[in-house]
Symmetry: C2
């Protein structure tokens, strides 16, 4: 009975992140790591052995063979961004659901081709933005959505930086113009932008203006940048992302009544609990000698780590399609596309001398 079978994942390539996602697949119910393919079968074998992948895993010497394998239900694609279009479309055409690493694509035109292929083939699309699946994210959304608590949202400020050494900044996949031409904007900015859109329930900003002072490597790939997103009603988001500062993941979301903060939004400091702080109607004590109330820490436990919950979500959607004949859920198409639109706009703004770019959806 197909209905009792787990959802089988096939992985394209031996990216470092696959080690984490493979573990997540093994932790999540109803999912199994079924196949992995690399351009070098020896590399794939070694990778599977080094990471204690299931001994029954199919190992292929090409991406294509993974997609040709009829038993594969979901293709997990952590390839360099420049390869996403080709392989995600191919996966869809082979009737695989697509779990795509970020940034989704180099531009929204490419993403639209992928989404079109997924739609035409009745397969689920999802980008691999893990933090969205943490129960902390849900808890924060509850607070933000309660206008009697948080009030009206005014601004969102995100910082996501990591520190690349000299070799990274010149040679890593993420800063090579032929592989990940969006650099830090695509890698780190993606998350800041997603967080900003998430906070406003995916309303698109009206304009996006890059901040002055971006840094590029010798090949012209972005190593550091920032921008202001401005919405029709006056609320705004700022972000700063880079590969040249100590690992930092800060979010402050400000409303008329409340302030929500966290310092590990992408990857929680530890796996079993994650926290955020929330201040409600912060006031000074008499003579401004202190604050009342002070920010309150909220701790949210999670049985499974966010990446396992992400796997559970695409498994759930894949099972619905397989077992109930449901249509793919378009939620992720829309969220991913909006994120990409803003990424594109930041890039366009940098290209055009920091002019504001209107977002047209």
């Amino acid at each position: 009975m197909v209905e009792n079978q787990p959802i089988r994942f096939g992985v394209l390539g031996c990216a470092e992140i696959t080690r984490k996602v493979a573990r997540a697949i093994s932790m999540a119910p109803n999912s199994t790591l079924y196949a992995i393919g690399s351009r070098s079968i020896d590399k794939a074998k070694k990778f599977a052995a080094d990471n204690s992948f299931p001994s029954a895993i199919k190992i292929y010497g090409s991406y294509n063979e993974v997609l040709e394998d009829e038993s594969v239900d979901v293709a997990y694609i952590p390839l360099p961004t420049s390869l996403h279009l080709k392989w995600a479309v191919m996966a869809a055409e082979k009737k695989k659901h697509v779990l795509l690493e970020k940034p989704a694509t180099l531009n929204v035109g490419e993403l639209d081709e992928i989404l079109k292929a997924c739609e035409a083939n009745g397969v689920q699309y999802m980008d691999a933005t893990m933090w969205m699946h943490h129960p902390r994210t849900e808890k924060m959304k509850e607070i933000l959505s309660d206008r009697s608590l948080f009030g009206e949202l005014r601004s969102i400020h995100t910082v996501y930086t990591s520190m690349g050494d000299k070799n990274f900044l010149e040679n890593d996949i993420r800063v090579r113009p032929d592989l990940d031409a969006l650099g830090a904007l695509g890698d780190s900015g993606w998350y800041c932008i997603r967080m900003s859109l998430w906070a406003v329930d995916y309303e698109l900003p009206k304009t996006v203006t890059a901040h002055r002072g971006p840094i590029f490597n010798k090949s012209g790939v972005n190593l550091s940048c920032g921008a202001t997103l401005l919405w029709e009603d006056g609320k705004l988001a700022t972000f700063h992302c880079s590969f040249v500062s100590n690992l930092t993941m800060d979010v402050s979301i400000l409303g008329t009544n409340g302030t929500l903060r966290l310092n590990d939004f992408l990857i929680p400091f530890n796996e079993t609990t994650a926290s955020f702080s929330f201040s409600l109607r912060s006031r000074f004590l008499d003579r401004a000698l202190g604050w009342e109330p002070t920010p309150k820490e909220h701790v949210v436990p999670t049985e499974l780590p966010q990446e396992a919950r992400m796997v559970m979500e695409i498994v759930r959607l894949a099972m619905k399609i397989r077992d109930s004949g449901s249509n793919p859920d378009k939620k992720w198409d829309s969220i991913s596309r909006k994120t990409q639109l803003v990424v594109d706009a930041v890039k366009a703004s940098m290209d055009k001398g920091f002019e504001p770019i209107e977002i047209v959806s």
Copy 2:
């Protein structure tokens, strides 16, 4: 013996903040609240009584009388900004040291007149930026200055917002074009800019570019704005300040090796201790399942609150001048002037359609 006498403060006006500073004067050694003047003597009397000012305090029905009183050593000037030029210059001419509330002035031209008057009359100038005097500030500077610890400074991100109600946003002194024409930029932005300059040892940025999306009230006074400060070597600061969000005071300072954060930079959550968090060489655990190390909280106790320490500092400088014939310390002239230059540049950038403004010192 004059040398055993405390330094005597005369206050111009009955600003709310005076309640805090009066307490600080009473807490600091060698200082005394000697006189207060208001345009209405009844208001001054009531203010002194309501706040249990020393019974011996001289109460005047004008600012001028405070400055005419030969016993006053320091004039504390918390008047609306548009009055700073006139009264600070007058104070200096009457040989009073000047403790000036922020923003120092409406523009650097005015500040230069004040500084010139202070210099010509041999009196000390200091702006009343209290957080700079907290021992936490010193401790943070130790960490930032230790390049083997913090590495190279890359960026500074500050947010200072408070929530004004409708009446505040239309009628408060801080948003009236005739009184505090700089609005949120002068009131809140001042602190963000000072923090950014402090972090880089007062090196002036090369350019300042306001972010799009500032908010103004009906009278054209700023209620919300932000900017990017960009230095010659590529480091940058962003800030966001406003009167339309819940009270928030966030700072993140990022270096190549470290991240320093605090959420109450202006006024600590409580009076006796203040904390900041510091992360050093943050790394992911294997498979990015968490962080190691996680940020460490540093708690800095203080015997006297920061405003009393500010009073102590101007008392110390005033005593040195009085008792040892020292010249006034020019440190505060320079820090205040640089802060004002950047405030002016943010305003100019907003006025000129968000163009970058070069800072010329």
